[in-house]
């Protein structure tokens, strides 16, 4: 089985840059290594911002989908 079990969810829809990333970083601080965080965001910079944040912090993006202007990311805490 490769289905990912989400440990925590963050609804960042409607929030402008940089709050989706800021709230993601805040949520991650309260999680333990290996846990998965699902984030929903509508900020147009999200795809590049989450990629950059993941690369810089080492928290991996394990899933990424887009549905009607809503970007969904599943991130694994480093």
């Amino acid at each position: 089985m490769t289905t990912n079990t989400i440990d925590r969810q963050l609804d960042a829809k409607g929030l402008a840059c940089p709050l989706p990333i800021v709230k993601t970083a805040q949520s991650m601080k309260e999680m333990v290594s290996g846990q998965l965080l699902e984030v929903l965001a509508t900020d147009r910079g999200s795809v590049k911002d989450f990629a950059a944040w993941s690369k810089s912090t080492g928290n991996e993006i394990v899933e990424q989908t887009t549905d009607g202007g809503v970007f969904r990311f599943v991130l694994r805490k480093k």
Binding site: A16, C17, P18, L19, I21, K23, Q26, A52, S56, T57
Partner: protein
């Protein structure tokens, strides 16, 4: 990403302070230390009594710019003060008042909003800035 981002805030209008708060919060989310040094009109805007009031916009905004800013605010964009608070919650963000500007404005540390960590001179600012970029807004 270990070198800090160093923001020198001079302007006290809401648009420039918002841009600065976004830079600070973005850097903090990446785990980068952020040093904010408040001078002149930016420091004035961080007064306890004034932090939440309307500080106007830079002259280039004009009426059209004002309308865009108001629309974004109505859509729920956080204020610059709230964005700085969020950045501080992430840790690694230090906000210091310029001692010369404190004298210029005739204000005391107790007059400043609690998100300001303290008062320092330019030498301390440069020492903490290390090899990181210095951005003047």
């Amino acid at each position: 990403m270990t070198e800090p981002l160093n923001l020198v805030l001079f302007s006290g209008t809401d648009d420039r302070l918002t841009a600065a708060s976004v830079l600070a919060a973005g850097a903090a989310a990446l785990g980068k230390p952020v040093n904010v040094f408040l001078q002149y009109w930016a420091l004035d805007a961080f007064r306890r009594e004034r932090i939440a009031v309307d500080h106007g916009l830079a002259p280039e905004a004009g009426a059209e710019g004002r309308a865009h800013v108001d629309a974004l605010r109505a859509a729920g964009q956080a204020s610059w003060a709230d964005t700085f608070r969020q950045a501080k919650e992430l840790g690694g963000v230090d906000i210091e008042a310029c001692s010369l500007s404190m004298d210029l404005l005739g204000i005391e540390e107790k007059d400043l909003d609690p998100i300001v960590d303290g008062v320092e001179g330019v030498t301390a600012f440069y020492l903490n800035a290390g090899e990181g970029q210095v951005v003047f807004i």
